[in-house]
Amino acid sequence: MNEAKILVYDGSFNGYLTAVFQAFEQKLIIADIQKEESAQSGLFSDAKLVYTDVLKSKRVWNGIQKKNNTAIKNIYFAFLSETKGIELLLYRYIQKLFSETELLHLNFSDDIVLKISQLAKSVGREKHRMEAFVRFQLTKDAIYFSNIEPDFDVLPLISKHFKSRYADQQWIIYDVKRKYGIYYNLDAVEFITLDMDGIHSNKTKKSNVFTDEEYEFQDLWNNYFKSTNIASRVNLKLHTQHVPKRYWKYLSEKKAVS
């Protein structure tokens, strides 16, 4: 009865918070919290399946938020990092949060706090990168389309930014790695999955899904990118530090269309 339990959830953030709810409510000793797809039960503990319950997860969310607004943001961001073992780490963090009276997220001399805030920061950085590096290409059916392949699962975090910026155009941002996207239909943003049949996958070859003008504008942009450079100040090290090579394939100014 008192043995440490492994909670298995569906991989969603709501699922995770439901697991946390259960752990607290039933005063479980937690050995681990694992995603369904990657779950392997430990030798000495029971695995327990958690059924996602939005009401319960909401209660945990609200509880943390009431306690500390920055902490809830850190938790959500760190969760999206998909780091191995993040669930347990966050669980310890939440436990601490509820047992301490002070503003835990500011206690940078605590290892867990430091780790969570670093993870949250990396995810935040990736979010900003994606807000910067998304490059829309106009399709013939008037949708601005972009592929991304972020290190972390940041689509849920960037949707608001793009919605308030591109309110008068339809757009899709598709995460090729995680195989889902967000689509703005001039009214609301919805999650979608696509059959990606090569045409959209940002090959450097021209694709006939995009308008002819699309390539003209990419060409203009590439030209601009070159003209605005000051040759006598070149500093490629700084350049790649800001625009890491792994993102180049998505940036029209860094790829040659043929």
Partner: protein
């Protein structure tokens, strides 16, 4: 539109505009209106970086590089034998919109050579901004150059559509200006600056009473100075910058290492190295003044008219003022913490919060991200006495230089050796 023709213009007019280093697109309060295009309320995003490592956040172009003036330091000067081009108003608008919709840019930075007259030129710049706002319902960022000598009426109108306005003072001293830009008077620069400053003040006052007051240049105004063209000292530059910050409520002053563009005996020869390290030191000083609570006279004065090239200005100040150290990180006031070399404002903030919980040790500081290899000579913390009390400034400097790879040390060692 004819893409070939546009491409040619774009190459000429982006090339001519690139010497203006400002690329900020933050500080505006313009949100998305009526489900139109764009939003400028964010922090401003760098969508890419040029190969020289500068942020690209705006489409930065001249409307034209025809110019009736002959400022020695400028590629666009009348006597320079280069290709000239001009965008039509609609072309500038279309480019902006199409780049923006593809998430290439945060908006437009539009400047121009002076053709016919300052007012004629300013009128055109305003027309582009107006079209973007009123016809395209564009809420992205617009930075317009105030043309020296433009009338108050036009400057007023410009502020209604632009987020930021700027006049580049370019030459930090009045004598230098006479020498290099004989067509321009000092007042030509300050008059539009003053107008914009006053309009911003009026706007802020009226806004308190009437919510619906139309916004005026919400991201304020900025200016730029060219560094190393006229033999000015760092003190000249920073005193002048302080003057503009104070008297014209500048949001930013930019420092741009002079890129030689002319064979002119008044200027460094073509091929001379751009003084990038010096430029970097000036920016560091600017930060110390704006965010770290330093006064300009502490850093630059008659005894020290120029910044150290081999160490940053904060370290340099600390080495000259060893009597103020060591500082105890567990008890010192924030403003003193900010003076410890190796401690950024971020670390200061973290220290202040973390020390509420426990006495901080070296280990804690390391985790927080303090650059201990510099800081340790200037601070004490729990479990560590000040082991460096017998060191002289020159020894500390030597030790720090030995152990640090300054950002520019390798790249610019040739330049460094000039000063050593």
């Amino acid at each position: 539109m004819s893409f070939e023709r546009i491409k040619e213009k774009l190459n000429i007019l982006a090339d001519a505009a690139k010497y203006d280093v400002s690329c900020s697109s933050s500080g505006s309060t313009r949100g998305n209106k009526n489900k139109g295009l764009g939003d400028s309320t964010g922090m401003g995003i760098c969508h890419t970086y040029t190969e020289d490592g500068r942020c690209v956040s705006l489409l930065k172009i001249l409307l034209t590089n025809h110019c009736i003036f002959d400022c020695a330091y400028c590629v666009t000067r009348k006597s320079n034998d280069i290709k000239r081009a001009a965008f039509k108003i609609q072309e500038a608008v279309d480019l902006t919109i199409n780049f923006y919709r593809r998430n290439y840019i945060e908006g437009l930075f539009l400047s121009s050579g002076i053709f016919k007259s300052p007012d004629y030129t300013m009128e055109r710049l305003v027309a582009v901004a107006k079209k973007l706002r009123l016809e395209e319902n564009f809420n992205g960022y617009i930075h317009l150059k105030s043309i020296p000598g433009a009338s108050d009426e036009l400057m007023y109108e410009a502020g209604l559509y632009a987020d930021r306005l700027s006049v580049n003072i370019e030459v930090p001293t009045i004598s230098g200006l006479k020498l290099l830009a004989p067509d321009k008077k000092h007042e030509d620069f300050t008059k539009p600056m003053l107008k914009v400053k006053n309009e911003i003040l009026i706007y802020k006052a009226e806004k308190k009473i009437t919510k619906s007051t139309p916004i005026y240049a919400p991201a304020g105004q900025s200016t730029q100075m060219i560094i190393g063209a006229t033999g000015e000292s760092d003190k000249d530059i920073m005193y002048s910058a302080t003057h503009y910050y104070k008297n014209y409520n500048m949001k930013r002053v930019y420092y741009s290492g002079y890129v030689p563009v002319a064979d002119d005996s008044r200027l460094p020869a073509i091929g001379s190295q751009v003084p990038m390290l010096r430029e970097n030191r000036l920016y560091q000083t600017d930060w110390l003044l704006r965010f770290y609570g330093f006064g300009v006279k502490e850093i630059l004065n008659d005894t020290h008219p120029n910044l150290d090239i081999d160490v940053d200005p904060k370290l340099s100040w600390a080495l000259r003022n060893l009597s103020q150290f060591p500082i105890d990180v567990n008890t010192a006031e924030p403003r003193m913490l900010a003076r410890i070399p190796g401690l950024g404002m971020n670390s200061v903030y973290k220290i202040i919060n973390a020390r509420k919980y426990r006495k901080l040790t070296f280990d804690h500081l390391k985790k927080i991200g303090v650059a201990l290899n510099r800081a340790k000579y200037f601070m004490v913390c729990s479990g560590n006495d000040y082991a460096h009390k017998d060191l002289q400034a020159i020894q500390i400097k030597g030790l720090i230089l030995q152990n640090s790879q300054g950002k520019f040390r390798n790249n610019y060692s040739s330049q460094l050796s000039l000063f050593n």
